[in-house]
Symmetry: C2
Subunit: 202 residues, 2 copies
C-alpha cells in the first residue's frame, strides 16, 4: 500500500479536524497513514513568530474560530476552543511518540484532540494527559517516564527538524513518498489522490 505521512501538532485546531477523519478516508483510498506528531512552535520561531498566527493576526483568529465552528458542525464534531489557545502540546506530543511505538498512539492522539477541541480541556496541564493515558488502560507513571526520557525528547526534536526540512510551515501537513507536500485539512483528499496516482504509475 502506498504511504502518506500525516504531520500534526497536538495544539493545531485544523489538525483536530484531519485526525478525526483521516482513518476512514485513507482506508477507502487504500493508503497507509504514518502519524507523525511534531511541534510547530520552533518552526514558527524561525519565521519570527512568537505566538500562533491566529493570535498575532486578530482578524485571522476571529475567522478561524467561526470557520472551525462551521466546519466541525458540518463534520458532526463537537468544538470548543481551549483556553489558552494554542495549548502547550509538548508533553502530549512526547507521550504520542511512546504510544505510537506501543500501538495505541492513534487512540491517544484522537483522545487528546477530543479533550482539547471537543471539550475545551487544557492538555498543557500534566493532569489531563495523565488521565487520558489511564483512560486508555495504560500506566501514566510508566508512560510519562518514557515520554520524558532524554532519548524521547531528542526524538521529538528530530521529528520537528525533519518536518522543517520537508518544507512544513503549518499543520496539518501531508507528505507523499515522493516528497509532495500538502498543507491543511482541506488538502487531505488531494494528498491521498496524489499518493494513489503515484502508486498506479509504478
Amino acid at each position: 500500500m502506498p504511504k502518506l505521512d500525516f504531520w500534526y501538532d497536538l495544539a493545531s485546531s485544523y489538525s483536530y479536524l484531519a485526525a478525526m477523519r483521516i482513518e476512514t478516508i485513507a482506508a477507502n483510498a487504500c493508503i497507509d497513514i504514518r502519524w507523525r506528531p511534531f511541534l510547530l512552535g520552533p518552526i514558527f520561531k524561525t519565521q519570527g513568530w512568537v505566538d500562533s498566527p491566529f493570535n498575532l493576526f486578530p482578524a485571522k483568529g476571529r475567522y478561524m474560530l467561526r470557520d472551525l465552528e462551521r466546519t466541525c458542525a458540518a463534520a458532526s464534531l463537537p468544538f470548543r476552543l481551549p483556553n489558552p489557545f494554542p495549548q502547550r502540546s509538548i508533553t502530549a506530543a512526547r507521550i504520542t511518540l511512546v504510544a505510537l511505538d506501543e500501538g495505541w498512539g492513534i487512540d491517544f492522539t484522537k483522545r487528546a484532540f477530543s479533550a482539547e477541541f471537543g471539550e475545551g480541556r487544557d492538555i498543557g496541564e500534566r493532569g489531563v494527559p495523565t488521565s487520558l493515558i489511564a483512560e486508555l488502560g495504560h500506566d501514566p507513571e510508566r508512560v510519562l517516564s518514557l515520554a520524558e526520557s532524554p532519548d524521547n525528547k531528542d526524538r521529538l526534536r528530530s521529528e520537528t527538524d525533519a518536518a522543517q526540512k520537508l518544507g512544513i510551515f503549518g499543520a496539518p501537513s501531508f507528505v507523499t513518498e515522493d516528497g509532495e507536500l500538502f498543507w491543511g485539512n482541506d488538502r487531505l483528499e488531494a494528498a491521498l489522490a496524489w499518493a494513489r496516482h503515484r502508486e498506479a504509475a509504478r
Copy 2:
C-alpha cells in the same frame, strides 16, 4: 436569487482560481455573485506586513507555488507566476470598477487574471491593462481617464475599507447576505451552500 459577494484582489493568485470557476458553480447553485475588487495591501499593512505573506515567509511562498501548479493543472488552467509577485494591482482594480458599471467587468477581471497568472504578464505595467481594454473592444483612453478620476479612486478606497470592516484579511473572500465570511478558493463551495441554505430558511 440569493446573493454572494466575491471579494478579490487582482494580485491574488488564489483569486485567479476562484474567478475562473465561480460563474459556472454559482449558476448551478442559483446564486447571484457580486464581483467586488479591492486591495489587500492596505489591509496587510495594518497587520504589520509590508509585502505578501508568500514573500515574507519563504517556506509558505515555495509551497504556494507548488500548490498553484497542482491546483491549476487539476482545473486545466494555465499557470505562470508573474514577476514581480505580487503585482501592483491598483490600476487594474480601478479599471475593473469602471468596467463593472459598464457591464464588462467580469470579462475584464478574467482577462486580467489570465494575462497575469496564465501568461505571466505584468499587469502593474500600464501597457498591459491598456491592451486588455482594447482587446475587449473599449477605448483605453476613455476608460483609464474614468478609472483614474478622483471619484473612482475614492471608491476603491471605500471598497477596501468595507472589506476590512467585514473582517476580510485575505483573498479571495466570500460574504453572504447575512454577513458570513468565507476565506479562500477552497471555501467557495461552503459559501455557496451557506447562501443557498439561508435562502431556503426564509
